[in-house]
């Protein structure tokens, strides 16, 4: 239903099921990048002030740290348990392979080395353009490394069924109609009664007024019936 407007990437697992991955967009990745920048700066200041006192040996170590910090900082964090740099972790993101598998070392290295090109001509210009052009928001480095930045968790639809007597659907319903009515009933409690009624009126044909009550309460009743509830069963569930 939502395929046309959603940017969800579907990955098939060896178990033969499809997993939905929600790619991270431009804005959230930008914020994650800025947070990482601040963290890197903090680490750099910390190391510099600690090693500055250590003399010549310290200078060497400092240059080594600069190299690691500029090239390998994201790689190290992406290969750890969370598959995300601290900035991405704070924003609830993680890096995956585009086929939904966990990130591999070469995938992480490639996507981070390619930052050099992504940052051209200035201010990550290439990265911004490719990310905005693609629905899955991958930059050049992601494309070469075969990786994808996605949200760690998807927001579960919040809500619950309001209390209502289960009503058997008066007319036969197609699977899509059943899904739509159930999804509406799940959300109805979060809407104002007027808005709920307005949306419910679209499906008024499925719940004739002969059944009594408002349209939305009738639809909730049908949804409860579709869930398997019957008259006389305890309604405590959900």
């Amino acid at each position: 239903m939502s395929d046309a407007v959603d940017t969800i990437v579907t990955a098939e697992t060896p178990e033969g099921i499809a997993i939905a991955i929600r790619p991270a967009g431009f804005a959230v990745r930008c914020i994650a990048f800025l947070i990482d920048g601040l963290i890197r700066l903090g680490i750099w200041i910390g190391i510099a002030s600690a090693l500055g006192a250590a003399g010549r040996f310290g200078v060497g170590l400092l240059l080594l740290c600069a190299f690691v910090l500029s090239w390998l900082y994201p790689v190290i964090f992406e290969l750890l348990q969370n598959a995300a740099t601290p900035g991405k972790r704070i924003m609830g993101l993680q890096v995956l392979m585009a086929n939904g598998l966990p990130i591999t070392p070469s995938g992480s290295l490639l996507r981070n080395l390619l930052r050099v090109v992504d940052s051209l001509p200035a201010f990550y210009g290439f990265a911004v353009v490719t990310m905005l052009l693609r629905p899955d928001g991958r930059r050049l480095g992601d494309l070469a490394g075969g990786t994808l930045v996605a949200f760690r968790t998807q927001a579960l639809p919040r809500g619950g069924f309001a209390i209502a007597e289960p009503i058997a659907p008066p007319i036969p319903l197609t699977p899509r109609q059943r899904v739509a009515i159930t999804a509406f009933a799940w959300r109805a409690g979060q809407l104002t009664p007027e808005r709920a009624e307005e949306i419910a009126s679209l499906a008024a044909g499925a719940a004739p007024s002969a059944l009594g009550g408002s349209v939305s309460s009738r639809l909730v009743g049908i949804a409860r019936w579709l869930q398997g509830q019957r008259r006389g069963m305890a309604t405590a569930r959900n």
């Binding site: 939905a20 200078v59 060497g60 080395l113 070469a144 968790t153 998807q154 579960l156």
Partner: protein
């Protein structure tokens, strides 16, 4: 089975799996976890096929996806794997790309030789590349009277230079590689420009009569350093070709395939540059080592490097 019955029957398994996702790997216990994962896959497929409510499908989908991430995580980053990549895949990939390597070597060495000869005959030419202050620095670096060779200031310690070489050289190699994405132009530019500068410095200090310190200095570590730069440039050219002439693949798929093939070459080059940095900082710069010793060490190193790429470890 109605959605309510379905939820009631499996709720305990889902809650248990959700709990296992939060604990550490050791507390998890593989057998139970795998069984629960398989069950959740089955439940997800059922729920999707039967158009169960969105909130049930979404919950199962998220549960399965999180468990999937843990189960398929590559846990084998062991030494054996790295060793195999560096000792077998790396030289094999270099051999597989020998045409690119030859082109990259030519692109690097021809400008270097031409510029070297030119600055040797006409030392002022170096000023077309760098300003006079830098030129006099080069002169100072390879002055036989210096305590340590190849340093701008004698004060810079071996360790400081080691850190500098690592950052600078590996950075150049990475740059040679990744800028290949720009239709290969970046790799071509960095190979040629590095060749020109190295050639110019060599020609200049030789013309000034410091060849006796310069060549023993560079001979050893260049076996690793120059080879690694040429190899990453070659890998970058392969990337550029994949973008420019993708053949039968879509352009992005072609880029991805080329990146996968050549990534090993870049990691190998980085390892070689690590060796080069150690040699350059602690061995090449030591003024007390006789040039003859440095030359014989250099010969060994070059022979080892060439052998490393020519030998074929037991057919894989």
């Amino acid at each position: 089975m109605t959605p309510l019955e379905f939820e009631a029957e499996h709720e305990s398994a889902w809650t248990e799996l959700e709990g296992l996702l939060r604990v550490t790997e050791r507390e998890r216990g593989a057998e139970r976890f795998l069984a629960l994962y398989r069950a959740s896959c089955e439940h997800l497929a059922l729920a999707q096929a039967r158009d169960f409510p969105e909130h049930v499908v979404a919950r199962l989908s998220q549960l399965t996806a999180s468990a999937h991430q843990i189960i398929y995580r590559q846990s084998d980053f062991g030494l054996q794997r790295i060793g195999r990549a560096l000792l077998q895949t790396f030289p094999a990939m270099v051999r597989a790309h020998r045409a690119y390597v030859a082109a990259a070597a030519a692109l690097f060495m021809l400008p270097a030789l031409a510029m070297g000869l030119a600055t040797y005959l006409q030392p002022d030419l170096i000023l077309s590349l760098v300003d006079p202050a830098t030129a006099s620095q080069y002169e100072h670096m390879y002055n036989p009277k210096a305590e340590a060779i190849g340093r701008v200031r004698d004060a810079a310690s071996d360790w400081a230079m080691f850190g500098f070489y690592i950052g600078n050289n590996i950075g150049i190699a990475f740059q040679c590689y990744v800028t290949g994405v720009l239709l290969g132009l970046g790799s071509l530019f960095f190979l040629a420009s590095n060749g020109v500068i190295i050639g110019a410095v060599a020609g200049y200090v030789t013309a000034k009569g410091y060849g006796g310190t310069f060549f023993p200095f560079v001979a050893t570590h260049s076996a690793f350093e120059l080879t690694a730069i040429v190899l990453s440039g070659a890998a970058g050219m392969r990337i550029g070709r994949a973008v420019l002439l993708p053949g039968r693949l879509p352009r992005f798929a072609s880029l991805q395939a080329a990146a996968r093939d050549t990534s090993c070459i870049v990691f190998g080059s980085a390892a070689m540059l690590l060796i080069a940095a150690v040699l350059e900082a602690f061995w090449s710069s030591a003024a007390w080592v006789a040039p003859a010793a440095k030359y014989s060490c250099a010969t060994t190193c070059w022979a080892l490097v060439i052998l490393f790429f020519l030998r074929r470890p037991h057919a894989a």
